[in-house]
Symmetry: C2
């Protein structure tokens, strides 16, 4: 099968889909090198090739802890993805709460991504009861209605901190308060929030994926508070305090650690320069910004265009080298909110030139599509 186009060259495209993937930063890639080429031993090996890794790893956890302001008492599991981390949270709650204590009610929200939705479904098949909290007209989880769903058998509330497509930030403080009052475990999916604004890990679980913070694919993170149930999901040995089987993927962990350090350094830039570019983009693009008055991520905007279907616009933008998204399956699809909207997400690597050029291409394409739509 011959590809009908040559691979993308950097520069010939404007990448505004940091929702789906981010470019691994140089420090992340560089940090992997020695662990691919020289210190490639298994960290469990009973000799120097293993022992030296223990030292090398030791200092590199701190950068990941720092990014989410975790304390040294918090447990951490390095996983292959944010999805795997979420699977481990749900499995831990199932084993320790549902099976052992009979607390088998779990609450998620309407706007969760595929991992949370599917993990909830798996637990439902295993006998748990799943309830779904609604969001209000601001795109935020309705905390009052969420509170009404909690009962004495509720084991877990699992929610995203911010919606990846609209950027709407959830009322996390209130939800943390609620979970504490009701004595319910709280998992926050930080996939889109981490590295975008500073926060402190205060829930029982926190998960995120390295590939959204300029680390490599194959790197994910699970934090759990001391005392929060935590059992291995992938079984197979005593790696990571017996919390995850399989050889510890040292190079990818090193990449995550370096990317976390970079994300921390660039947090201010997110709050200033990336916000400025996002606002510039929104002012240039002729469309309606969704949830503009709600607290949103600094890098994300969902914009609706009258008389334009999102699929058509996405298709033509792709052909013109502007890459955006409308999301994937499950609730993580913009069509649930608007069939005319597209989501654009910037990163610290996005430039003003790109933003202006993208806006011009979008405006032009929207006009073309509206003309076609009217001619039909």
């Amino acid at each position: 099968m011959t590809p009908s186009f040559t691979p993308t060259k950097m520069g010939s495209m404007i990448y505004l889909d940091h929702h789906s993937a981010t470019r691994p930063c140089e420090p992340a890639i560089e940090r992997m090198g020695p662990f691919l080429k020289e210190q490639w031993g298994a960290s469990f090996a009973p000799h120097r090739m293993g022992q030296e890794l223990v030292f090398a790893l030791d200092t590199r956890y701190q950068m990941i802890y720092d990014l989410v302001a975790a304390s040294e008492k918090d447990q951490f599991v390095f996983t292959s993805s944010g999805a795997e981390a979420i699977n481990q949270v749900f499995w831990s709650v199932f084993v320790e709460k549902a099976r052992k204590e009979g607390k088998c009610h779990i609450i998620i929200s309407q706007i969760e991504d595929a991992p949370v939705m599917q993990c909830a479904k798996r637990l439902e098949e295993l006998g748990c009861i799943i309830k779904v909290a609604p969001v209000d007209e601001n795109g935020q989880i309705d905390v009052e209605k969420l509170a009404e769903l909690v009962n004495p058998r509720t084991a877990l509330i699992s929610l995203t901190m911010a919606h990846g497509l609209t950027g709407v930030i959830q009322p996390v403080e209130e939800i943390i308060q609620l979970a504490k009052e009701k004595n319910v475990l709280l998992h926050l999916d930080a996939t889109y929030a981490v590295g975008k604004y500073p926060f402190i890990f205060e829930s029982d679980y926190l998960t995120f994926s390295g590939d959204r913070i300029h680390s490599v694919k194959g790197s994910g993170a699970l934090f759990a508070k001391e005392g929060a149930p935590l059992v291995p999901f992938i079984l197979g040995g005593s790696e990571q305090n017996s919390l995850r089987g399989g050889a510890f993927d040292v190079p990818s962990f090193m990449a995550l650690s370096a990317a976390a350090q970079q994300a921390m350094l660039y947090l201010d830039m997110m709050a200033l320069e990336v916000v400025r570019l996002r606002d510039l983009f929104e002012s240039e693009v002729k469309g309606t910004v969704l949830f503009k008055d709600t607290m949103r991520l600094p890098n994300t905007t969902a914009i609706a265009f009258e008389k334009v279907h999102q699929e058509a616009l996405l298709y033509y933008l792709n052909r013109k080298g502007v890459y955006a998204t409308i999301g994937g399956s499950y609730a993580g699809h913009l069509s649930k909110i608007s069939e005319n909207a597209i989501s654009f997400s910037l990163s610290r690597m996005t430039t003003e030139e790109e933003v202006l050029k993208a806006a011009a291409i979008i405006n032009e394409t929207v006009l073309q599509l509206q003309a076609i739509s009217e001619a039909l």
Copy 2:
């Protein structure tokens, strides 16, 4: 914390622990490069950064299929490790056979590694019945006794193709025959067999780990025959035909594909040069080779030394730069067979000079330890 020694330099050590990890080969590392630095998009992304990956991936599956002589009808899931692949096999059998059909008996052997042992235990906690097949004095699974364990409710037999520490190859042909006759699913853990000798994927499931065939950590493989139950273990989206959630780790997959291609090219070398070096090593080392008369892997030898405890010998060999192993937890520990034995495993990267030097160091160390032992 300051490390008390400098990182290992290649050349200052003799690495004979290819049981635990192998050095990623150049083609594996090189193949990752473009997918870390340029084509870093998500393969599910609705634009060229995703679409171009589909083409790039398309041709690279073949090398992995070729290594185990799989047919194009066979299903393949790229996982983060062999352990994860094994978890998926057990989970698939649990969901589709135990829960849906009530076939909840599972047979493993005495000599399985941690992933199979622990996955069996998890299924036992979920209500399955686990039976353990014994091995005979040749280190091989007793096929007659295995057959006696099968009953109409047996869903799965899960066995290793070769023991990682002794190198003993299991009577796989007979076991495949047995499983077919009894209509029981068969999983073969090919972790230590793959890349060591040619074989054809004929069981229902086959799993292995990239880090044992000179790929990178974070790469694993699961093959399943058409019709063998297969459901996702890590949930979270529609990647890999909805068989594994989380962003597809393209760079690590590319590394596995390149490493598989190399392993295929070097199969003859395994059967000739690596065997020659292993035999040379065995003839030079003054000890008793375990299971010498049984069919063994070309690269592995377990050698027992009179009046020497394996832990002490391992410790001193490590100090002298000879890296070997006695295995990990569970049945994958040599002490279950002999407390005087150490396992050495070569690779295509091992040289004659290394083998001779290691043998001399081992002989010297064994004499020293025997002298101490006699003096006590």
